[in-house]
C-alpha cells in the first residue's frame, strides 16, 4: 500500500471544502447574475437561472478536483466569486 501523507490529506480536505462550500457560493452568485441578466419576464428568468445552477455547481466541483493544486482551486473559486459578486453588487446598486 502506498502511504498517504498528511500533506495529501490536507489537500483533499481543502479541495472538498472549496468544492462543496465555495462551489455553492459561486453557483449562488452566478445564478443570481444570470437571473438578472436575462432579458425575460421575471418568472422565466428565475426559472432558467435556477435550472442552470445545478450544471454550474457540477462544473465548479469537477474543476476544483481536476486542477493541479488545492491552492489553485481555492484561488480560482474565490477570484471568480469575487468578480461575479462585485458585478452583482454593482447591478444591485444600479437597480
Amino acid at each position: 500500500m502506498t502511504t498517504i501523507t498528511w500533506r495529501y490529506r490536507g489537500g483533499v480536505a481543502a479541495r472538498t471544502v472549496a468544492a462543496i462550500g465555495g462551489g455553492y457560493v459561486l453557483t449562488s452568485i452566478a445564478s443570481a447574475l444570470i437571473a438578472i441578466a436575462l432579458p425575460l419576464p421575471r418568472a422565466d428568468a428565475v426559472t432558467i437561472a435556477t435550472l442552470l445552477s445545478f450544471v454550474v455547481y457540477t462544473c465548479v466541483i469537477l474543476w476544483v478536483f481536476a486542477t493541479t493544486s488545492a491552492l489553485r482551486a481555492w484561488i480560482g473559486v474565490v477570484a471568480v466569486s469575487a468578480v461575479l459578486g462585485a458585478a452583482l453588487w454593482i447591478v444591485g446598486r444600479m437597480a
Binding site: A32, A43, V46, T47, A49, L62, A66
Partner: protein
C-alpha cells in the same frame, strides 16, 4: 487530483459515489417502486379489490355526480373536495376532502382538520365500498424517496438533495473517466473477479446512462427553488410567494365569500371538458363547495405531454359557467414543467412505465455494483495481509457491512412492509404508522446483523430471507385475501394491478434467490480450492 484529468475524475467518482451510495439505494428503490404507487396502494387495500373486478359502466360525468352527491352529505362545508374518477390505472371513484380550520382550535386539531379524509365508491353501483384498511400504501414509498422518515420533511429533502448532488457529480465524473464508454458497453467478462464487477457496473450504468443522468438532474429540479434560492432572492427579494404564483400560475386559490350558494350540477361541466379535449377529465377539484366563490377545476388525464401540468378548465361553482381555460405557460415555464414531468413520468403508458421501472432497477444495480466494486478493489490492497491470515482494514469491513445491510437488507425491509400490510390486525390503531415501523425495524435488524458479521454467509442469509419474503408474497396474498393470482389473472382489467404486483415481486424474489444460490456455489468452489484456510475468503472477493 494526482496525475491526469482521468485519474482525478476517477477519484471524485469513487468518493462522491461511495459516501452516499447506501442512501441512494434507498432513494432509487423507493423511487422505482413509486412509478407504481397507485398499483401498490391498490394491492395494499384488498377490501377494494372486489369492487374493482367488474369494469366500470358509468360515464365519468355520472361517476362525478355520484361522488358529489355523497360529498354533499358528508362534507358540505369542506375547504375543498378532490375526486379521482375511474380510468386506466384506477378502477374506482376516490373522493377526499379537507376541512376548514375554525377559530379556537388547538394546533393539533387544526392539523387534523387539514388532513384529508376520504372514501371510495364502486362505479358499478355508486355505493360506498367496504372501508379499506388503514395504510399509506405506495404513498409511503414515494414519500420515503425524498422526505425520508422519522424527521421533518425539510430535513429529509435537504439530505436527499445533497446526496443527489453527489450522485450528479459521480455520474459526470464517471463518464469523463471512462474513455471507452461505448466499447465497454459491449464488454462483459464474467467470472473474472474485480473485472466482472467493473463490467457489471459499467453495463448497468452505461446501458441506462441517459436515464440515470435525467432522473438525478430532474430530481434536483423538482425542489430546485428550495435548493438554489439565490436567483429567486435576486429577482423577488423576500417575496417568495409572488415567485411561486408567477412560476406556478395555475395554483391560485380563491378565498370563500362566506355566502351560501348551492353547487351547480357538475355533470354538464365534465361533458363540456370531454367535448373540448376528446377525453374525459379524471381529476376534479372543487374549492369552497356551496359557497358563492366555489370553483370547479377539471384536469385532463395525463398521457399526452411530458409536462406534469395538465391542461385544466375552471368553472364557477355557483353558476356553472366556464370561467377560463388555464393560462398557457410561457415556453420556459413549460420546459420546467416538462423536466419535472420527466421525473414523475405521469405521461408514461403501460410499456413506457415498465421501461422506467426497469431503468430504475438498473440504477439500483449501478449503485450496488459500484459499492461492491469499492470493497473488491480495496481488499486487493490488503491481499498480502489477508494471505498471511490477517484482516482487511476497518474501512473494508465497514463498507462490506453497509453493503449487506443496504443491498440485501433493503429488499427485506420492502418485503416486510408488504407482509405487515397483510398480517397486522385490520382494526389496529395507528396501523399505517405500524406498517412503516415494520419497514424500519426489518431494515434496522438487517443492517445491525450485517455490522456484527459482515461475511459471505451473511450475504447469503439476507439474500435468502429477502428472496423468500418477496417470492412468498403471492402465497401470502392467496392466504389472506380472495384475490390471489388464480382469480386476478382471469378477472376483469381492474384486477390486473393486483396480479402484476404479485408476479413482479415474485420475480424480484427469484432474482434475489438466484443471487444467494450463486454466492453459495462460489463459496463451495472457493472452499474446494483452499481447504486449509476457508476463513480467508472474504465475501465476493472471488466473485
Amino acid at each position: 487530483m494526482k496525475e491526469g484529468l482521468r485519474q482525478s475524475m476517477a477519484w471524485v467518482h469513487t468518493w462522491s459515489g461511495l459516501l452516499v451510495c447506501w442512501l441512494l439505494l434507498l432513494v432509487f428503490m423507493g423511487g422505482t417502486a413509486a412509478y407504481y404507487k397507485h398499483e401498490i396502494t391498490f394491492w395494499m387495500k384488498p377490501e377494494l379489490h372486489k369492487a374493482a373486478d367488474a369494469p366500470s359502466r358509468v360515464t365519468p360525468a355520472e361517476s362525478a355526480t355520484l361522488a358529489v352527491r355523497e360529498l354533499q352529505q358528508r362534507a358540505p362545508t369542506a375547504n375543498a373536495w378532490f375526486l379521482d374518477l375511474p380510468h386506466e390505472r384506477n378502477p374506482l371513484i376516490y373522493a377526499s376532502w379537507t376541512n376548514p380550520p375554525s377559530k379556537g382550535m388547538t394546533r393539533e386539531e387544526r392539523r387534523a382538520a387539514f388532513r384529508t379524509q376520504n372514501f371510495t365508491l364502486d362505479p358499478m353501483t355508486g355505493e360506498k365500498t367496504a372501508a379499506p384498511r388503514d395504510t399509506r400504501g405506495g404513498e409511503f414509498l414515494y414519500r420515503l424517496h425524498f422526505d425520508l422518515y422519522y424527521m421533518s420533511a425539510i430535513w429529509g429533502r435537504w439530505i436527499v438533495g445533497v446526496a443527489s448532488m453527489f450522485m450528479l457529480v459521480a455520474i459526470v465524473s464517471g463518464v469523463i473517466t471512462h474513455k471507452r464508454i461505448f466499447k465497454d458497453f459491449f464488454t462483459f467478462r464474467p467470472k473474472k473477479g474485480q473485472r466482472s464487477w467493473l463490467d457489471a457496473h459499467n453495463a448497468t450504468a452505461v446501458l441506462a446512462l441517459p436515464f440515470h443522468l435525467m432522473i438525478t438532474y430532474t430530481g434536483l429540479v423538482t425542489l430546485m427553488f428550495m435548493y438554489m434560492p439565490s436567483a429567486t432572492k435576486a429577482l423577488y427579494g423576500a417575496e417568495q410567494n409572488t415567485m411561486f404564483s408567477e412560476v406556478f400560475p395555475n395554483a391560485e386559490r380563491v378565498k370563500p365569500a362566506r355566502e351560501l350558494a348551492p353547487l351547480a350540477d357538475i355533470g354538464p361541466m365534465l361533458q363540456h371538458a370531454e367535448r373540448a379535449w376528446g377525453q374525459a377529465p379524471t381529476r376534479v377539484v372543487v374549492t369552497n363547495p356551496n359557497d358563492a366563490n366555489a370553483r370547479v377545476e377539471l384536469h385532463r388525464p395525463s398521457g399526452q405531454q411530458l409536462s406534469n401540468i395538465e391542461p385544466s378548465m375552471t368553472f364557477d361553482g355557483a353558476s356553472g359557467a366556464l370561467l377560463s381555460d388555464a393560462k398557457p405557460l410561457s415556453a420556459t415555464l413549460d420546459a420546467r414543467a416538462a423536466i419535472y414531468g420527466l421525473h414523475v413520468a405521469h405521461f408514461a403508458d403501460t410499456l413506457l412505465r415498465a421501461l422506467f421501472f426497469v431503468c430504475g432497477l438498473a440504477g439500483t444495480a449501478m449503485v450496488a455494483t459500484g459499492a461492491l466494486l469499492w470493497g473488491v478493489k480495496e481488499r486487493q490492497k490488503y491481499a498480502k495481509v489477508i494471505a498471511k491470515g490477517g484482516k482487511a482494514g476497518f474501512g473494508v469491513r465497514l463498507v462490506d457491512a453497509l453493503n449487506i445491510g443496504a443491498i440485501a437488507g433493503l429488499p427485506i425491509a420492502f418485503a416486510a412492509y408488504f407482509w405487515a400490510n397483510r398480517l397486522l390486525p385490520v382494526e389496529m390503531g395507528e396501523r399505517s404508522n405500524a406498517e412503516a415501523n415494520v419497514f424500519f425495524i426489518a431494515w434496522g435488524l438487517a443492517a445491525l446483523l450485517a455490522q456484527v458479521r459482515p461475511t459471505r454467509a451473511m450475504w447469503r442469509f439476507q439474500l435468502t430471507v429477502g428472496a423468500v419474503l418477496l417470492a412468498g408474497i403471492p402465497v401470502l396474498n392467496a392466504i389472506t385475501t380472495d384475490t390471489h393470482l388464480g382469480v386476478t389473472l382471469f378477472g376483469g382489467p381492474g384486477l390486473r394491478p393486483v396480479a402484476a404486483f404479485d408476479i413482479v415481486v415474485m420475480l424480484l424474489g427469484l432474482l434475489l434467490g438466484w443471487a444467494a444460490w450463486w454466492l453459495g456455489r462460489k463459496a463451495k468452489k472457493a472452499a474446494a480450492r483452499q481447504p486449509s484456510n476457508p476463513a480467508s475468503t472474504t465475501p465476493l472477493e472471488a466473485a
